[in-house]
Symmetry: C3
Subunit: 419 residues, 3 copies
């Protein structure tokens, strides 16, 4: 109705300035949000769940990526499979519970009945000319990376998932996630665009001032720093930290725990980064008292003090794996200004609540940290709404991974929307 | 901002495949919703109320069709008239109560005062040059079909209302709706597009699995079936049912109660269908115990066991008339994904609550059934949001009327929007 | 998606009929709302606060004009300054409390620290190449008109603020607003477009029927009337009122209180109107008992019965100044159909609550009146949603200022959007 000159997405992508934040429409525009959902979330590998969500045959869990609902099921052969959660008759949503256990998948509307392989087994009243074989559930690509479940909604998923899988498997295998259980999980709605949630995750410049619980077992030097601004004492600390990391990497790798940094955040379609890092002092885990939260250790670990393996993926997840427990985070965009953050705490499947671990203790650090991060994300979202907002510079010493997230995003969008 | 290729309405209408559901944008697109409101709800006869809503001179009721608010009034000559509910001065809404009783129609803002004929009687401070004759309320076309009130917001309403009225009057007259009262009414917001609410109404394929209260007095055979899939016992039952319906029609018509099916669902602009059908066993009415809910019978009925006359209209209503009471349903679209369903239970105007009828008993079946249907409509709406949604086939034996609803809709839209 | 022919803004502006309400899209269209925010609220002087909101150095208050958040601060030299409330690093909102007191302006995200002059004082980890001088807060134009604070978000604000200031200063000075305090303030969300809130303020045609509390100390004749429709008694009353106003103006001006009407509502970019008017009978103030609400009088007043100075500004404020207290009103648009109305009651800064004034008594009239007005604005908003809405005529005797508000609005919009 009104002839407002708006910058097209293509131009916004083209003029993005490396080392700087994105322009405001990337955080506020419903049109760019729709493009994000179509280009990023419908065509890339999205971390959505863990195998521990569906431990037994017939166990199912529903995940929603935008309007696309997917039901993940463990079939009778213990394979994890995924289908579009839409009946092929009148299009009704098929499975309504977040987690449940089923024999077949039966639509509640007219009782169309599908097997765990997605085949339509039964549909009443459809007459002789109706072919059940043409009306099975639509399959969704799903991959398990050592128990971490990734979906891809595209017909042809990015092929380099295999590259990531090959590189990551040795890092993840010692934690044996397939033999864990979900001890606790929590969804929160952050009041910001999904990219702000991701950017917030990709730096710890903000940690010292905002995350008192999280930072206890962390080395301040690990967050990055401007070397030219250190005094003599600071320089010595930074050197000691670098040596410590290097020594730990050596010792861990000798014990069969791959640890050194792998970084492909903006040079792969399926971008990721990993590194095992030491914790400060006597710290064993991400808990308020820095001690292991679970007495029964994961997989091949027998020393609770084994540092923390970190795994970041584009576009929507991060994970921390300690010797005693793991925490996984998945971001699901809701609209241009809201995102769902789903956090799961995993312990050994045979660990007993109240005996081996206490849920309150297990979850305390990240419940607090998520809440703090959600507030910060909201600050950025309200800031981006202002016509006075202008992309600022990233710290070259503490915000490199944020920059790489933006590089990846701009690259993937440019690939789809224009040169 | 973004160059997303979207299918135009005209193309969507053109490629609609008969016998199949509509494509997703018909249920989710705000633009198509706006087109529905303009093309379907602003230009066709819409069932909105009953004469029993405004029994006495000065009684008024307000109905909102999208943003268009209409006040229906019974004037001093007992005529039912309708006006746009907007003051001609500053455009304030004029009548705010759903039902009230008025002498004149007085705007609360500056006290402009209109008679029950819509003429502006009084406006202060407007000076000598102001002509009250030019500032009367705008009239809305209204028709009463034996007490059922239909509005048309167009300047020139579809002429075939008279055809429907001529055909339907003998069916409705025995129930004498003008001498009923509204014993109970209820609004619910269904979480779905108005067409999903209508489609759900147009088949009983879903009844067996979802409506335990409704199906007690109904013959399962009446919902339709695939004859080739019946076994011998089923075939015999279906034949017995067909004979029963035919016998009842003959007996009822001989007694002056027209009963045989009239169907003009997709071959008239003012589409409709009617039929009087028997109830199973000793059933008299749509109640939990299948007995008449009201001791005082309607109109010319003296046998409570007289079956149920059904009346369906395009685009937004259905009705069930028993010997003892009637239930009317009107659908008012709210937005692309929400619809208001207004249900009214009518009994003889002289029936006494607590003596002749009990409201809880009267309303029980349809309160439960509406709630179940609302859930099902929501399942379809969430399903339609998925990019994986694909129109499925209608059962040729149980979903013919859903198909005809879609035929009518696509025909009316095509008539307005495309070649 | 759908080819709906909509009237462009330019055409709507061009065909606006003087003496009549605006067409419906001006009240309902999100696109025109966006144009209003850009053209009216981003480029004109907007009344937002009073100096009494930030009495001491370091005191700050945040005001939001659409998505634009501004922090107003009193600096150490007692100047009132204003900055965009957005950090120059990652764009986070900087100040979150409506009112607070600060030493520096510190972003909670990464602790970037700005002085009260907006200069970036400190940013960690940014390296040697980072220039703090280029990353100060962006300034916003702010002017105090005798303690009333106006912002302009444009780079080059309308120059005629000075004309208004020169004309208004003598009227306002006697009330000495710089030595007041905010005794009470209240925000309400009105369910209507900001222009309906403004139009409602610009006439008292609706007062007799809707504002029993407000009208007690007001002369009915002051609301305007059609002279040709008065009877002999009415004519005499009107003449007496005109003489009373004239006599009062003379007496007040002789005592140093400018009083006569100044009106530049539609012939200046920074449109305004003022007049000091007598109150009826023994009335001293806008209170339920018409007596002064505060024993300690404002500024140069020593007679509580000194009438009421009114000050209306385009596009978003009005004010009533009595001898004992003042009330200021600012309208902040929220979306096309909602507006925030912020009301502040000011008394002498040395007045003591419970001794010199009672807050309940002070605020009673306008709390009630605002609530009544909000309801009326809602009536107009729902009316404007109807396709049957048609702009009606303004009373030439009581709605001239509404017409001038529309003239000003249409003029300013035409200046920006079309010929």
């Amino acid at each position: 109705m009104l002839d407002v000159t708006q910058t097209p997405l293509k131009a916004l992508l083209k003029r993005r300035r490396p080392g700087y934040c994105l322009e405001a429409p990337f955080y506020t525009s419903p049109e760019i949000f729709a493009a994000d959902m179509e280009t990023i979330f419908q065509r890339h590998w999205i971390f959505v769940a863990v195998e521990a969500d569906v431990p037994e045959p017939g166990d199912s869990t529903v995940v929603d990526i935008g309007g696309t609902s997917v039901v993940i099921v463990r079939d009778d052969d213990m394979n994890v499979v995924a289908f579009h959660n839409v009946c092929r008759h009148r299009g009704a949503r098929l499975v309504h519970d977040y987690k449940t256990s089923v024999g077949n998948l039966v639509c509640r509307y007219h009782a169309w009945t599908y097997g765990l392989d997605g085949q339509l087994l039964y549909a009443e009243h459809m007459g002789d000319h109706f072919d059940t074989a043409c009306h099975g559930l639509k399959k969704v690509h799903i991959r398990s990376l050592e128990g971490l479940l990734f979906l891809c909604l595209a017909d042809e998923p990015p092929a380099d998932f295999d590259v990531m899988a090959d590189l990551m498997t040795p890092y993840l295998a010692p934690h044996d996630l397939r033999n864990t259980k979900v001890a606790f999980e929590m969804d929160i709605i952050e009041p910001g665009n999904w990219k702000l949630t991701m950017e917030n995750n990709r730096e710890c410049y903000h940690c010292a001032g905002n995350h008192p619980e999280l930072t206890v077992p962390l080395f301040a030097e690990g967050f990055g720093f401007a070397p030219e601004q250190l005094d003599e004492a600071g320089r010595q600390q930074a050197e000691r930290y670098a040596c410590l990391v290097n020594d730990n990497h050596g010792a861990w790798e000798a014990s069969g725990f791959p640890s050194r940094c792998l970084e492909h955040l903006d040079d792969m379609v399926t971008g990721f980064r990993t590194e095992r890092l030491p914790l400060d002092g006597d710290a064993e885990s991400h808990t308020l008292d820095t001690k292991a939260a679970c007495r029964k250790l994961l997989g091949r670990f027998n020393d609770p003090k084994s540092g923390a393996l970190h795994f970041w993926t584009q576009p929507n997840s991060w994970h921390h794996f300690m010797a005693d427990h793991a925490v996984t985070f998945a971001v699901f965009p809701i609209d241009a200004e809201h995102s769902l953050l789903r956090t799961k705490w995993l312990v050994h499947k045979d660990a007993v609540e109240g005996v081996d671990y206490d849920v309150e203790n297990l979850k305390a650090v990240w419940v607090a940290t998520n809440d703090q991060d959600s507030t910060l994300v909201g600050y950025c979202q309200t800031g981006a709404r202002s016509p006075a907002y202008e992309p600022g510079p990233y710290s070259p010493h503490t915000e490199m991974l944020v920059d790489k997230f933006c590089n990846w995003y701009v690259g993937r969008m440019t690939d789809a929307h224009g040169a």
